[in-house]
């Protein structure tokens, strides 16, 4: 799919911003899967839009908690912003409680919850005609996956000190020359698989939607919108759940 015009192109400074950023940040080398590319800033602008929307929702939520006299202990009567965000937070907490236990889940809920909401809203923005999902490209996905990868090791070292790296050597000391490459490869495969899974699902969904819309523009694309919502939610859940499992295996060596 070539360059895709979005609503962002109606902003007055868009083309100037795009050419100046392409000069500064564009990629001119090619290697294997990374071929010549059309530099687009629509994904970055979409990501900024998602961050603005999430900040707005968070501020409204904090204000409504403050406005209810009891610090939010009573559930809200109607389905508003507060009930929606509490549903998402409960969903993420119940996902995390399994691998991590209640105390760790409460500790990491800001991280994984924000990750979940960001990915969910980025995926959902693809369903609005005229927007590109920021998770369509490796820029966003690899950034998120590398953040989780680095945080896994940071939390592991914070929990165990430098002895954390001893688990690369495997259970028996004389298996270490075999275990270290295997462990390193499996650790590198984690951010790659996280980012490519999200990328592939969202891109494939978007392209199939475009193809079906070109064939039958009338009622069938509505079914694809429903499938798009399902894929968005499931992929956000899978990314968050896998991040939780990676962090919990990094911290949970205390039983040994």
């Amino acid at each position: 799919m070539g360059p895709h015009a979005t609503w962002f192109s109606f902003f007055p400074g868009y083309e100037g911003l795009r050419t100046s950023l392409e000069g500064a940040l564009g990629r001119r080398w090619t290697w294997q899967v990374f071929q010549t590319t059309h530099f687009e800033i629509d994904h970055i602008l979409g990501g900024l839009l998602v961050v603005l929307v999430l900040s707005f929702l968070a501020i409204r939520y904090a204000l409504s908690i403050r406005a209810s006299g009891d610090r939010g202990a009573v559930p809200p009567p109607r389905l508003g912003i507060r009930a929606l965000l509490e549903t998402f937070a409960d969903l993420v907490y119940s996902l995390m409680e399994g691998p991590m236990g209640a105390q760790n889940a409460r500790r990491f809920l800001p991280l994984i919850g924000t990750l979940f909401l960001f990915i969910l809203f980025c995926n959902l923005i693809a369903l609005i005609p005229g927007f590109l999902p920021p998770t369509d490209t490796l820029k966003t996905n690899l950034g998120l996956a590398l953040m989780i990868f680095v945080l896994t090791h940071v939390y592991g070292v914070a929990a165990h000190g430098l002895k954390y790296f001893k688990h690369f050597m495997g259970p028996l000391w004389w298996l270490a020359p075999l275990m270290i490459p295997i462990e390193i490869i499996s650790h590198i495969a984690r951010p790659v698989s996280l980012s490519v899974r999200l990328l592939g699902n969202i891109t494939a969904d978007h392209k199939v939607g475009a193809v079906i819309f070109a064939l039958i523009p009338y009622l069938i694309p509505v079914l694809l919108l429903g499938l798009g919502v399902l894929v968005a939610v499931v992929q956000a859940i899978v990314f968050s759940l896998l991040s939780t499992i990676y962090i919990s295996t990094a911290i949970a060596h205390e039983e040994h």
Partner: protein
């Protein structure tokens, strides 16, 4: 499993025949301007997604069948079975998506 094994031999035979016939045409110089590289890239892209979907379909079928068996034995556990089933399906599907990405990359080179 034996049904899949029985399909493998004709499938492999077909693929080898198709590829060797392309090589035979190139050597016979019957059509000297025929460069088969685009055709082979096309076949590669189609095989990538086709085989990935085949394996993914079988894997997801087994996962869904086990989940449905569990729900049938114990309908009250359907809430607890549903979420792990969805996560398992998404993980199996991710392997299919890797194949799909290769298919997109190759079909972009045609």
């Amino acid at each position: 499993m034996r049904r899949v094994a029985k399909l493998f031999v004709p499938l492999a035979a077909f693929v080898l025949t198709a590829l060797s016939s392309a090589a035979a045409f190139a050597q016979g110089a019957a059509a000297p301007a025929a460069d088969n590289s685009k055709g082979l890239i096309g076949i590669g892209a189609a095989l990538a997604i086709g085989l990935a979907a085949l394996g993914g379909g079988l894997g997801q079928g087994r996962a869904a069948a086990s989940a449905l068996d569990g729900i049938a034995r114990n309908p009250q556990a359907s809430g607890k079975i549903f979420v792990p089933m969805i996560v398992g399906l998404a993980l199996i599907e991710s392997l299919v998506i890797y194949g799909l990405l290769i298919a997109f990359t190759l079909s972009g080179k045609i």
